[in-house]
C-alpha cells in the first residue's frame, strides 16, 4: 500500500533547496547556539580533564565512571537504528506508505551515529586516544574486548548506511539536476560519477542487498547484540547482566527511533508545506509502530522487574529494588505508557489523532528513553556484586558539561538536516514517480 501523493511535482520535492526563510535562519541560529554552548563547556573539559564531569575516576561521583555520556551514546545509537531499518523495510517488505520519509530516516541514521561517535570521542578524555590507543590495540583486543567489537560494528554500520545513501542518491541527483543549484556542480558530479541510466536496475538490486544486510545486522547483531553486550556480558554488575538486555535494548532503540523520525518528518512537513508529500496517513502509520514498540519496551521492562524482585539473587534483587524505587524511572516508564495509550487510542478513534500531539508524545518518549538508559548505566555501576566502592563518597549527578553535550549533539543533528536539505533532495524521487508515470 502506498500513500496518495497526487498533485505533488518535482518542484515540491526540491522546495527546501530553492527556498530560504527567516525560520530557516532562526533554526540555524538555535542549532549553532546549542553547539556553541556545548563547545564552551567542552573546552573546559579539554583544559581540566574529565574531572569537570564527575566521571574521571572511581572517586568523584560515588563510584560511577560511566554516566550521561554513555547513556546518551546508547540513546543516539538507538535513534540511528530505526532510521535505516525503516528505509530498509520500505525496500525489502514493500512498505511503500513510508517511502516519503525513507531518506529522512536514512539521514537521521547518519546524523545520530555521528553523535553517538562524538560521545565516545569526548568520553575517552583526550580525543586523539581513539587513534593512539584504540587503533594500535584493535588487532589483538578485538578477539576479547566488547569495546573493540563495538568500535568495529559501529564503523561498519556507519559505512553501510552512507553507502546506501550514496548509491540511492545517484538516481535522484541525475534526474533532478536541472532543479539543483549550479554552484554545487562539483559535488553533484562526484556523487554521480560514471552514472548511466542502465545502472538503475543493478544499483536497485545492490541497495536491496544493503537493506538486507542492514535489517539483519542492525537490530539483531548491533543494538540487540554488540551494544547490549557491552553491559550484559559483565557478571559483576547485577543490573546489567543477562540475555534479556539484547531484546530490551532493541525495543528501546526502536521506540526512540520511530519518535525521532516522527519529529523530523513533522518538522519538514510543517516548514515546507509538505502536507501532500508527507500525508497524515504516514504519521498515523508511524504512530501505530510507536505504540507497538512501546508495548514491547514495557513488556521487557516488566520481565526484568519481575525476575529481579521475585526470588532473585541478592544483588540483582537489590539493584531491581533500587530501580523501581527511583522516581525518575517511573517518569520514563510513564512517558512510554502515555505514547502507547495515545497510539492505541488513536488507532481505535482516528478522529482523536493529531500530528502536533504525536510530536509532543514523541519528544516525551525520547526524554523517557534517554532517562531510562542513563539510569540503567548509573544504577548498574552503583549496585555491583562487589562492595569495593561502597565507601566512595558522593553521588553521581550529571554535570552541566555532560548536559551541554546532549544539547550540543541535538544541535548537530538539527544543523546536519538544515545543511543537507539545501544540497540534496531529502525525499526520494521514487516517492512521487509512480504518480508521475500514471499521469504520463
Amino acid at each position: 500500500m502506498s500513500v496518495d501523493v497526487t498533485g505533488v511535482d518535482r518542484d515540491t520535492l526540491v522546495r527546501p533547496i530553492k527556498t530560504f526563510s527567516n525560520r530557516y535562519v532562526a533554526a540555524l541560529a538555535v542549532a549553532l547556539g546549542l553547539i556553541g554552548v556545548w563547545l564552551f563547556f567542552y573546552s573546559q573539559q579539554l583544559r581540566n580533564g574529565l574531572i569537570v564531569t564527575n566521571l574521571a575516576d572511581w572517586g568523584s561521583g560515588g563510584g560511577v565512571p560511566w554516566g550521561l555520556y554513555i547513556g546518551a551514546f546508547i540513546w543516539w545509537v538507538g535513534i540511528a537504528h530505526g532510521g535505516i531499518i525503516l528505509s530498509a523495510a520500505v525496500r525489502l517488505l514493500g512498505m511503500d506508505t513510508y517511502q516519503p520519509v525513507a531518506r529522512l530516516a536514512e539521514l537521521l541514521t547518519i546524523a545520530a551515529l555521528t553523535c553517538a561517535g562524538i560521545f565516545i570521542l569526548i568520553h575517552v578524555g583526550r580525543p586523539d586516544r581513539l587513534v593512539t590507543s584504540v587503533l594500535p590495540a584493535w588487532p589483538t583486543r578485538v578477539q576479547w574486548s566488547p569495546l573493540m567489537w563495538d568500535v568495529t560494528v559501529i564503523t561498519a554500520y556507519f559505512v553501510l548506511t552512507a553507502t546506501y545513501l550514496a548509491l540511492t542518491i545517484r538516481y535522484d541527483v541525475n534526474r533532478l539536476r536541472d532543479r539543483l543549484p549550479n554552484r554545487l556542480e562539483p559535488l553533484y558530479a562526484a556523487l554521480t560519477v560514471g552514472y548511466t541510466e542502465t545502472e538503475d536496475e543493478v544499483v536497485e538490486r545492490m541497495v536491496w542487498w544493503i537493506a538486507f544486510a542492514i535489517i539483519i545486522m542492525a537490530p539483531l547483531l548491533l543494538h540487540g547484540g554488540v551494544i547490549p553486550w557491552l553491559f550484559s556480558l559483565l557478571p559483576s554488575m547485577a543490573g546489567w547482566h543477562g540475555g534479556v538486555q539484547g531484546p530490551s535494548f532493541l525495543s528501546i532503540a526502536l521506540t526512540s527511533a520511530v519518535s525521532g523520525i516522527i519529529i523530523i518528518a513533522a518538522a519538514f512537513r510543517h516548514a515546507y508545506g509538505w502536507e501532500e508529500l508527507i500525508p497524515r496517513a504516514v504519521f498515523q502509520g508511524l504512530a501505530k509502530w510507536l505504540g507497538f514498540f512501546s508495548l514491547i519496551f514495557l513488556w521487557l521492562q516488566l520481565q526484568q522487574v519481575i525476575t529481579g524482585i521475585f526470588a532473585a539473587p541478592t544483588t540483582l534483587q537489590h539493584a531491581t529494588e533500587v530501580k523501581i524505587s527511583t522516581p525518575l524511572y517511573w517518569v520514563a516508564i510513564g512517558l512510554v505508557v502515555l505514547a502507547m495509550l495515545y497510539a492505541f487510542a488513536t488507532a481505535l478513534r482516528p478522529d482523536l489523532f493529531d500530528i502536533r500531539a504525536l510530536v509532543g508524545i514523541s519528544v516525551g518518549v525520547l526524554i523517557g528513553t534517554l532517562t531510562e538508559k542513563v539510569l540503567f548505566v548509573v544504577e548498574g555501576l552503583q549496585h555491583a556484586h562487589f562492595a569495593l566502592y561502597d565507601g566512595v563518597p558522593g553521588q553521581y549527578v550529571p554535570s552541566p558539561v555532560e548536559i551541554s553535550a546532549v544539547l550540543g549533539t541535538v544541535g548537530i543533528v538539527v544543523l546536519f538536516f538544515l545543511v543537507v536539505s539545501k544540497v540534496i533532495p531529502v525525499v526520494e524521487l521514487h516517492a512521487i514517480e509512480e504518480h508521475e508515470e500514471v499521469d504520463a
Binding site: 576479547w144 560494528v153 554488540v226
Partner: protein, 107 residues
C-alpha cells in the same frame, strides 16, 4: 549411598576451592568428578569468530551478491566496494589527521 559419593566429592571440592583452600579439586578429594575443562576456541579469541564470523556475515553476503547474480555489473559493484573502503578510510583517516594536528599543536 555409593552413588552420592561423586556428588558429595564435587560439592566439597567446589566449596573448598571457593574458600581458596584447595587448588585442585580432583587431587584433594578422592573419587571426585573432575570439573569440565574451560571452553576455548582454537587459534584466536571468541571475538574474532563472533564479529568476523557472525556479525559481519550479512555484509559478506551483500558484497558477494553485488558481483554474483542478475542483474549485476562490475563497475557498479566496484563503486559499492569503493564506497565501503573509501568511507572507512575517510572516517578513521580524518581521526588520524586530527590526532597528528593535536600532537603538533598541543604537545
Amino acid at each position: 549411598m555409593t552413588a552420592l559419593v561423586p556428588l558429595t566429592g564435587l560439592l566439597a571440592a567446589v566449596a573448598a576451592s571457593v574458600a581458596g583452600l584447595a587448588p585442585a579439586p580432583t587431587a584433594a578429594v578422592p573419587g571426585a568428578v573432575p570439573l569440565s575443562a574451560e571452553y576455548t576456541l582454537p587459534f584466536v579469541g571468541p571475538g574474532t569468530y563472533l564479529i568476523f564470523g557472525i556479525v559481519l556475515a550479512p555484509v559478506y553476503a551483500m558484497v558477494a551478491a553485488w558481483f554474483i547474480g542478475d542483474p549485476s555489473d562490475r563497475f557498479a559493484g566496484l563503486l559499492g566496494v569503493g564506497y565501503l573502503a573509501g568511507l572507512t578510510t575517510v572516517l578513521w583517516g580524518s581521526l588520524f589527521v586530527a590526532t597528528i594536528i593535536i600532537g603538533t599543536v598541543f604537545f
